[in-house]
């Protein structure tokens, strides 16, 4: 007779070793568990009440898998990809290049939970997280492989993380930190709770809705299917936070506050432009800010309050950044388009601009002037003036351009000196992250540091592009070949 799950589940997930050949510290080193001074007994309270058995897991995942495959195959046969709007397609290139390998990094993080988490219950759940992330990597690779014949940019699903493309390096830098190098406790707070529970909603729910509206059923469906796993394994963060609130609330507050800001900056780079500029106007659902407020800010505030944490000191600045940061990033991405492996849509036609001003009342005042100049240069045939000649200075924490975190009025430098070296930041929030734990970030050379140190040769934009692995077949250019600018041209008098 088969036992009911409830009859064996607790025994199976509480199964643990009594170590006799090696010391606890050898089998479960502090540097990986992150237990620090939290007593062993405290971890017995770690509980995720939703029960996952291997049998149930396989059954549910198998259903999801056949669903994704069926839709993918049907869309491929129907030739849907070839009919998509070029501006939207860029969002898929950007996603695959910057996300596929992050899924793979997450396999390593979840494997660390399986092996080193401070309680067998958590180690048990880590197994499913690890399988989830393996699935996500494979799904992204298969999706990209299927579309490779239509666009070499899908090669970047695998290639991107083996290049030095600056945006990819910014993504990698963050996830190296909170996935690959963090102990279990910090990874659960920074990645599971902050990134997976909060921010992935933007990439996987909001963007999925936009993709569906844009007719990209295959990608939308893939994103939604991945999100069901994220939502489940992100839950590993909550019992961890619960334990920390009892024994080390200060560590929890700090890890979450740092991860929240760094995630904000990253999603302003990856998702903000995709939602507010690349998604064709009539297919936009919510603005990036609206979605952030509803899905990330509200949830985050509720979690902080429920668990007894405070709002980060920088909350007002964060809200100011929410109004601006992704517009600044978008302007920079478009201007430095040869440094991208996707074709960004400028997204500032008259109608689009009206939408931007409605969603962001300060948009015109902050960003309109820059775009007007770019438009005037395009219409005067001076394309050379719309292209960069050098690289922007970058932040030593986020790896993103200085001046891209707030409005154009907030350009005071944020600087720290540590062990004789000067570090620069995109905001005083990033500086605060650095100052909390300088040894963690110090020594790292960002792209511009390397450029100045002569590590990138020849020392020109062309040398930089080659170093970043950007080849002409994928190099970024305006998604619509600048046709959108024509409506601004002064009427021809003849």
């Amino acid at each position: 007779m088969l036992l009911n799950r409830d009859d064996w589940y607790d025994i199976s997930r509480d199964l643990d070793w009594t170590l006799s050949y090696v010391d606890e510290e050898v089998a479960f080193p502090q540097c990986w568990t992150g237990k620090r001074a939290i007593p062993d007994e405290a971890w017995q309270a770690w509980d995720e009440p939703f029960r996952v058995s291997y049998r149930d897991y396989v059954r549910v995942q198998r259903e999801k898998e056949s669903g994704v495959k069926a839709v993918g195959d049907a869309m491929l046969r129907a030739g849907v990809y070839q009919k998509l709007d070029p501006a939207h397609v860029a969002a898929a290139h950007l996603h695959m290049g910057t996300t596929c390998m992050v899924e793979y990094m997450a396999v390593t993080m979840q494997s660390r939970f399986c092996r080193f988490a401070p309680t067998p219950r958590w180690r048990n759940l880590g197994v499913f997280g690890m399988l989830d992330e393996t699935r996500h990597t494979q799904l992204d690779l298969r999706f990209s492989h299927d579309l490779l014949r239509f666009d070499p940019r899908f090669d970047w699903a695998q290639k991107a993380f083996h290049t030095n493309e600056w945006g990819v390096l910014a993504v990698k830098n963050f996830f190296d930190d909170i996935m690959l190098s963090s102990d279990c406790v910090e990874a659960a707070l920074a990645t599971s709770l902050t990134v997976e529970h909060g921010f992935t909603n933007i990439q996987f729910v909001a963007l999925a809705a936009d993709a569906m509206a844009a007719g990209d059923v295959n990608w939308s469906n893939l994103l939604s299917s991945i999100q069901t796993d994220e939502a489940r394994h992100a839950q590993q963060g909550f019992p961890t936070l619960q334990v920390l609130m009892e024994h080390d609330p200060q560590r929890a507050q700090q890890a979450i506050d740092v991860a929240f800001w760094r995630s904000t900056r990253l999603f302003q780079t990856l998702t903000g432009p995709a939602m507010d500029y690349y998604t064709p106007l009539d297919q936009r659902k919510m603005s990036f800010k609206e979605f952030m407020l509803e899905w990330v800010v509200n949830h985050h505030e509720r979690i902080l309050a429920d668990y007894g944490l405070s709002k980060p000191w920088y909350w007002d600045k964060f809200l100011h950044s929410l109004e601006n940061g992704h517009h600044a990033m978008h302007l920079g991405l478009w201007f430095w388009r040869p440094t991208l492996f996707w074709k960004p849509n400028a997204g500032v036609s008259k109608a689009e601009r009206e939408w931007l001003n409605e969603k962001y009342p300060t948009w015109e005042e902050n960003w309109g002037g820059y775009w007007d100049q770019i438009i005037a240069n395009i219409n005067a045939g001076r394309m050379d003036l719309t292209l960069p000649e050098t690289l922007p200075a970058l932040c030593n924490v986020t790896q993103l351009p200085l001046g891209s975190a707030m409005s154009r009025h907030d350009l005071e430098p944020a600087v720290s000196v540590y062990e004789g070296r000067t570090y620069q930041f995109d905001s005083d929030i990033s500086k605060w992250c650095f100052d909390l734990d300088p040894a963690r970030y110090a020594g790292h050379m960002n792209v511009v540091d390397r450029f100045i140190a002569g590590q990138i040769q020849p020392m020109s934009l062309a040398g930089g592009l080659e170093w970043m692995g950007l080849t002409p077949d994928v190099m970024g250019d305006d998604a619509y070949g600048y046709r959108w600018a024509a409506e601004y041209a002064p009427a021809m008098a003849d």
Partner: protein, 118 residues
Amino acid sequence: MFCSVAEPLPEQFVAVAAEDELWDGEMASYEIDGSEVLLLRLDGEYRAYNGECPHQSTPLVEGELDGYTLTCRTHEWSFDARTGAGLNPAMARLRRHEVRLSDGCVWVSRSEERGIRS
């Protein structure tokens, strides 16, 4: 919808749907006094529960009703749709609202039932 009451029901009951509005195995949600109530029809009988998932408040109507199992779409918490009892996790439970049929309509109590142990 207008429902005149043949035999007057206590005041806390609100008519939410016509008696034939749902097919067997279907669910729908209605707002009563600003909160969402989930109505289900199983084996011809109606049941009503608080419409928000007890985990993190996802509207249950967006989930899936498969036989007698109601699964929330967000983290797959599942419930026995007949009783509201948690299947996974077992410690969870949906809060029930009393249902009455009268005058061709489904009437749902504004307040959750107290002391119901399923």
